[in-house]
């Protein structure tokens, strides 16, 4: 997991988790309180409804009591029931309807002791039907508001029912009466804006207690929940965006320099200890950068000492190589001289002709030795360090350098440039190689080579050689810093590698800024004493 990802994950965890917990707690608390309030209102409404049902049931009982009293004094009813007068039968059949209309009951039934319906107010034509079960069931629920499902011509009807009875002689009659439980009845019950009351009876039951069922529309609670959820999601989204932006800024602020530092560190090895680890930050990253810079400088000093040791160790090998090369170069000469001595001794008259014949061999051997000497001169040993005027070296070099075809050389030398302790020959070879490379590169683009010197401290200088040539890729630069790599038809491939070695030997730093199409800029910094 990258540092940037960790920052993002950490910020998200620290910021979003508390908001999520807060949202969940607020929602849960709101839910709990609303539910408690809803429960209290439901209980209150249920109590009010039970009181109302009790009052309605009491009113029905009072009306039945009045009917029973009236019937006990009704002679036509007595004749129709006790005397079994056929003439009064229509009166008996119609009594229920008239009595229900008179008392405002929507359900009224008169039964005899067998349970036979003698008269019915809500269903006139159900007379003579036996239905003792209904009365028995309602009687079983006596003392409380009772719901009964009774027949009507149009179908079942739910009614709040009560019972009463009267005795005529030896006969006992039962009055079953009630009011229809419909929307008009429910509208008379106590109401609440968000609660609804209903009375229901199980499908299979004919009679049951009138228990109010309170249902909440839940719309208010749901609307509040939806509102809280919307604001919660909005807050969470805004926080998430803010966290993302801050995290990316922090990551860029923290991990960006780390990535650059890692890149600079990756380019450091024993052959390239010229990395730039300068930092103007005063935080931990700046301290780390400066620490790495000090470490690289120590490595550079160690590498110099190591290379010196290697060079001393390699002197023997070089001597053997030189011996071998010289022997190879001298052998043909020795052979030619021996041949000439033999001709002089045996046939002196042929000496001029023989010399002319063998002369190319002598010339080739001398050329070989000359080339060999030139090659070995390029890897000569380091000289003594003494105060060195770099401007003077640059001017002398520029005076002896002819501008190549299509390339110009411009000097920008600081007049107050201090002398620095260095081997003048090494400095000359560095400048010579850099200017030669720059002129070669600038010639390809008809560009200009600029050499700039400046004072960076009391005894420290900076020398910059830049060209407007084709530049190099990272891979080309890496290979150019190695020995014997060149893209020039007659190049030795030693220019930049010699520059790198010589600057390291001098303890200077070398920085090369180049890119394809952007030219090349080489910066040399002498160390501050």
């Amino acid at each position: 997991m990258t540092f940037r990802t960790r920052i993002l994950a950490g910020m998200a965890l620290v910021s979003l988790l508390p908001i999520a917990v807060l949202g969940a707690v607020v929602r849960g608390e709101m839910d709990r309180r609303m539910t408690e309030r809803e429960r209290a209102r439901t209980a209150a409404l249920e109590a009010l409804t039970r009181d109302a049902l009790s009052r309605e049931s009491g009113a029905v009982a009072e009306r039945l009591r009045a009917l029973a009293t009236s019937l006990a004094q009704d002679d036509r009813f007595r004749l129709a029931t006790l005397g079994r007068s056929a003439r009064e039968r229509p009166y008996l059949l119609d009594w229920g309807e008239h009595a229900a209309r008179l008392t405002g009951l929507t359900m009224l039934q008169l039964q005899d002791e067998e349970g036979r319906i003698l008269s019915s107010g809500h269903f006139r034509d159900e007379f003579d039907r036996l239905d003792p079960e209904l009365v028995a069931l309602v009687r079983h629920e006596a003392g409380s508001a009772t719901l009964a499902r009774v027949r009507t011509p149009e179908g079942p009807m739910l009614a709040l029912a009560r019972l009463d009875s009267l005795r005529l002689g030896a006969r006992r009659f039962t009055l079953l009466g009630g009011v229809r439980v419909d929307s008009a009845f429910l509208a008379r019950l106590p109401a609440d804006s968000t609660l609804s009351v209903s009375l229901a009876l199980a499908d299979s039951a004919r009679v049951g207690p009138a228990t109010p069922a309170i249902a909440s529309s839940a719309s208010e609670l749901e609307a509040l929940r939806a509102s809280v959820d919307r604001w919660f999601v909005a807050a969470l989204s805004i926080t998430a965006v803010a966290v993302l932006v801050v995290s990316l800024w922090l990551a860029a602020r923290v991990s960006g320099p780390l990535v650059a530092l890692a890149g600079a560190s990756a380019r450091v090895d024993l052959d390239r200890l010229d990395g730039d680890f300068a930092a103007d930050r005063d935080d931990e990253i700046g301290e780390l950068t400066r620490l790495l810079g000090r470490m690289v400088r120590r490595l550079r000093a160690s590498a110099t000492r190591l290379r010196e040791a290697e060079r001393r160790a390699a002197v023997g090998d070089v001597a053997r190589q030189v011996n071998h090369d010289l022997r190879n170069g001298l052998a043909p000469i020795r052979h030619v001289l021996r041949h000439l001595r033999e001709v002089e001794r045996d046939a002196p008259e042929r000496l001029p002709a023989t010399f002319t014949e063998r002369r190319p061999t002598l010339d080739a051997s001398v050329d070989y030795l000359d080339e060999l000497a030139r090659r070995y001169a390029s890897v000569s040993a380091r000289g003594e360090a003494r105060p060195c005027d770099v401007n003077e070296i640059v001017r002398a070099l520029a005076a002896g350098t002819n501008a190549r075809d299509g390339a110009a050389l411009e000097l920008y030398l600081a007049p107050d440039l201090p002398r620095v302790p260095a081997d003048p020959l090494a400095v000359r070879r560095i400048v010579e190689n850099l200017v030669a490379n720059a002129l070669d590169a600038a010639r390809e683009c008809d560009g200009t080579v600029r050499v700039r010197s400046e004072r960076v401290a009391e005894h420290a200088i900076r020398l910059v050689v830049s060209d407007e040539g084709p530049g190099m890729s990272e891979e080309e630069l890496t290979r150019a810093l190695q020995d014997f790599y060149t893209t020039k038809p007659h190049g030795t491939g030693l220019g930049l590698s010699i520059v790198r070695r010589l600057t390291t030997d001098l303890g200077w730093t070398l920085r090369i800024d180049t890119a394809p199409g952007a030219g090349t800029c080489v910066t040399l910094d002498s160390p501050a004493p």
């Binding site: 034509d125 007379f127 039907r129 027949r151 011509p153 149009e154």
Partner: protein, 121 residues
């Protein structure tokens, strides 16, 4: 209602207890046949919405129906009857003309009354 004595009893009861008017049991014979899809129709006894006599007869039939036959009455507009049973008023001279595919059972007959001026002797 296939039993003629039971039908006579019902006719008599309807004329006596249900119909609040001057009525007598009908002596006309039934005609027609039970429609083949009668059992599939709703268990309702239809009557013309404005005919109180027909409603009372329909309600009585519902009341005396066996408990496993959940009949109920339903007022219908003229000509809108699709029920298994329908109580309709028919002039006497039309009771003998049965509707095709339906069983028609005459239940009661009412005697028309007339108030006429008595001519002077």
């Amino acid at each position: 209602m296939a039993d003629s004595s039971a039908l006579d009893s019902i006719r008599a009861e309807l004329a006596r207890d249900v119909v609040r008017g001057d009525a007598r049991p009908s002596a006309n014979a039934a005609c027609g046949a039970i429609p083949p899809d009668a059992a599939e129709r709703a268990h309702r006894v239809a009557y013309p919405a404005a005919d109180e006599t027909a409603r009372s007869i329909a309600a009585r039939l519902v009341a005396i129906a066996p408990p496993h036959v959940p009949l109920r009455v339903a007022a219908v507009a003229a000509g809108g009857d699709t029920s298994a049973l329908a109580i309709v008023a028919r002039p006497l001279e039309r009771t003998e003309r049965c509707a095709a595919g339906r069983l028609t059972i005459p239940l009661i007959e009412t005697r028309a009354r007339a108030i006429v001026p008595v001519e002077a002797p």
